[in-house]
Subunit: 531 residues, 2 copies
């Protein structure tokens, strides 16, 4: 289909569509700003019963801060009482005498207590330590007001006074965060009255999560990676349609993914926004197919037919690219590399999940072709879907076990079953029976992320099991709230609360887009029905 995409150029191996990149810039949203002050002075306490071993104890209201004198060696932790993304300003006053030497502070920003409690020098994860948010700040002029250049994602701010001089101490006369987001809380429709308090709370935390990830693109997490990932975008967009309605931001992101593609036209897994938007080298089988899904969802929400028409060739191209990975049997070729995401789990085999997402994506491609009246394409995709489904049932369904299996090792995982259900490879009743068997299969590779949990909830709804879906939301996302979440987390394993695929929970993102979907379920599915 690439002949329909006009005026693209190759940059190295990448394909750049200047026109789409240019267009995407006109939909850069204006950021809303809000000044937020700390509410409490807190102290972090080691507590084996607390989430990740840290409990925050309130020392007093932050209103006493301006009168508090801090000397060399002192530290203080401020609690802004909510997760924020923004720019921090401090007004500093020298006391006792003149500031005859620079002031040297260490600032540590934490989304969670662990970040302001544990020593970053102990960090041994494999993601860069540079994601941990701390700064050494040298201030030459006192009294003075300093605004830090960088944006931070945080609720807690620990301030350590590294150096003053023998002549002076300091007071923090004012400190605030200029919080930024492209989402407007005013735009969110009120929840229907049938929603109970617990769900209202989950909805609020979801909305705040999405709010803090919505900047000039949909970021995956404002602390880390601060980047546009298509897996996150897809879910953020779904929640956005029900809440903030910033639909041009979804359009902007779709144009960015379409306008900056990898070798052969692949939609990349993620994009960097600065210094100029460009696609990362990472291609993920499932993520590229989600371009189709996200485009379809966008059309459903907006009826923006022009975008659907313009971007359809890129969506269709993803199907063609994905089909090339099928082996002679019509099954996705498995391998050891990181070719497909699905979920964070070291043992998880991706083959069956990839196959399911191929079918899932092609079905939505078929719907787009039908909507655009492209009947030849529609028929072709339908045929491709049928072939893929037949191969799936023939090669990836283990009749004896009653599970979809994946890879050489014939692995049974939650991810494989859930995605086969979402791809509608089995009918509703068979799907529910499958899930029930799965719940009793103790060796099945479990789920590890809110992202995968979202799809599990979707699969329950697919089976018509609204109550079970709701119970799962209450249990899982409700568990995070009980564990202290102001915004929902990138990772949450109730059985291993320090779980991190990166080797340290310090580096986990605690405001993560793919975790914000309770609002979608609550508002779209449950709002109209008594729960």
């Amino acid at each position: 289909m690439s002949e329909k995409i006009i005026s693209e150029t190759k940059m190295g191996e990448h394909i750049i569509n200047e026109s789409w990149m240019d267009q995407s810039q006109q939909w850069i949203p204006k950021l809303h700003e809000q000044t937020v002050y700390p509410e409490q002075i807190v102290r972090s306490m080691s507590d084996s019963h607390a989430f990740q071993g840290w409990r925050m104890e309130t020392i007093g209201p932050a209103s006493v801060l301006p009168k508090q004198t801090l000397c060399k060696g002192d530290e203080i932790t401020l609690d802004f009482s909510q997760h924020l993304v923004g720019y921090v300003t401090l007004s500093l006053l020298n006391v006792r005498s003149n500031a005859d030497a620079p002031l040297r502070l260490k600032l540590t920003f934490g989304e969670m207590p662990c970040e302001v409690s544990e020593d970053f020098s102990t960090y041994e994860g494999w993601l860069s330590r540079s994601w941990l948010q701390d700064e050494v700040l040298n201030v030459d002029v006192l009294p003075g007001t300093v605004t830090l250049n960088r944006r931070y994602a945080f609720r807690y701010l620990k301030i350590e006074v590294l150096d003053t001089s023998i002549r002076y101490d300091i007071q923090i006369k004012d400190i605030y965060c200029r919080a930024v987001t492209s989402a407007s809380m005013d735009a969110v429709p009120p929840l229907p009255e049938n929603i109970d308090e617990e769900l209202a709370q989950l909805d609020l935390v979801s909305i705040r999560t999405l709010r803090d990830c919505m900047q000039t693109v949909f970021e995956d997490g404002p602390k880390r990676d601060r980047r546009l990932w298509i897996g996150d975008l897809r879910l953020q967009a779904l929640v956005n349609y029900e809440t903030f309605g910033c639909n041009d931001l979804v359009k902007r992101c779709l144009y960015l993914f379409a306008g900056s593609r990898l070798e052969g036209g692949q939609v990349g897994a993620c994009l960097y926004e600065k210094p100029e938007p460009y696609v990362d080298d990472i291609y993920l089988y499932d993520y590229a197919l989600f371009f189709i899904t996200t485009l379809w969802d966008y059309y459903e929400a907006t009826k923006d037919r022009e975008t659907l028409e313009v971007l359809w060739p890129v969506a269709r191209e993803q199907i063609d690219i994905a089909l090339k990975r099928l082996d002679a049997r019509g099954v996705v070729q498995d391998d050891e590399t990181w070719y497909c995401f699905l979920d964070w789990h070291e043992q998880l085999n991706k083959q069956a999940g990839a196959q399911a997402i191929l079918i899932y994506g092609m079905k939505r491609g078929q719907w787009i072709a039908r909507e655009l009246g492209l009947s030849a394409q529609e028929e072709q995709i339908q045929m491709q879907v049928q072939q893929a489904e037949r191969a799936t049932l023939h090669y990836l369904w283990d009749e004896e076990q009653g599970f979809f299996i994946s890879g050489e090792e014939r692995q049974v995982s939650w991810a494989s079953q859930v995605w086969m259900i979402l791809a509608e490879v089995v009918d509703k009743d068979a799907a529910w029976a499958l899930l029930q068997r799965l719940m009793n299969h103790k060796e099945a590779i479990p789920m590890n992320t809110p992202y995968m949990m979202h799809h599990y909830v979707e699969s329950l709804l697919q089976c018509g099991k609204k109550e079970e879906a709701l119970a799962q939301i209450r249990a899982y996302w409700g568990g995070m709230v009980k564990d202290g979440a102001d915004t929902f987390w990138e990772l949450y394993n109730p059985d291993d609360k320090t779980y991190s695929p990166y080797g340290s929970n310090l580096i986990n993102s605690y405001c993560h887009a793919w975790s914000c979907t309770p609002s979608y379920f609550i508002r779209r599915i449950f709002a109209s029905t008594a729960c």
Copy 2:
């Protein structure tokens, strides 16, 4: 005389003359900017024969830097080949792959090799460690260009790559310093031809020292304290008249000292320029008297009679204040506090030096009164001078030893003898005999700073000993140049090259105003005579 100073207000115990403070702002000079690039990549080598134990070895030209890949854990030291004061910009490029995490660099700026060679965490001096110039720089966007906010004083810049990510390394595509000064090298008159190469070199280093200290005030040192001290100002002004001729900057500083005084009208020892100019709490007996001297020198250089008239009441006030410290005998009351500077030496007793500077200052006050036709005042000061001289010869001259003595302990020091000579308490011949005796007095408290050395050279000239004065300049300041000085240092003890009054040579200032006077001597005294 304070009745002549109109419209002053008390701020706490300080006296503010708003009109003078306002006027001083109109003489804020424009800063000249020059872009300077590093010349060499160097490596610091431990070497017991090198100054302070460190030798810089050239690895290669800095022109290869843009092609050099730096990985996590790498470090590189750049040599800008001259002392600079300014703002540093780095253009950074990620290589190997995209910068999927922030870059974390540590930058350490050094005036001298020791600063980029020794670990600042070992610093144990009593001045704040915050004067040591290092920064942890987190860079979110690569490729990117970053300009650091703070001004640094340095020749060497060590860059340590603390963190990249597993995907990328970096290259420094460009790095430069936007050097700033209010002095223009173009304004400096050429040296007469009779000046030899060694003196020409001392002149150049002096001029560069003064250049880097000349910002929007005459700073003592651009690394530390970055402040206007009157002891430094007095000597800087003398060199400035012979070189840059930025006379309005001297006027600005005089108005600042006059416009912001301490309790009872004392001229403070130093001023802070920001956030708004204000006087520090420190009163030093000698420094306050140097207000008179500096005003007289300014008038001699500029013939600006208006400033002389306007500021004379403040100068006169300093005499009155200083005289109040005399005891019934007419001698400065000694005590243990830091009431007078003279020189950095723990054992140095200040009484005799203070007495000498009182006389020295009063004599210049007398000249001003004469110049302004204030004969009553002139006569009064003359009487005060005579009384002080009589008391000095009676109580502070030890006829048996043939030295001026100071304090209860009847201490003999170089500082006391030198200042008595400069105050002309003894005549030329007696002065020279005194100095000769002093050279053979092994127990006399020695000199420790270029500031004191300047006065010693002045005292030799006072004795008519031009050759000896010149030999001293060649030996002392020439010694610094042989030891690697690009700009002259705050402290230099040829017998103890790591000497620091602050507990660590790391914190010493290596571009220090009070050390820049060889140019004054060379241009004013020696230029016209064969040396």
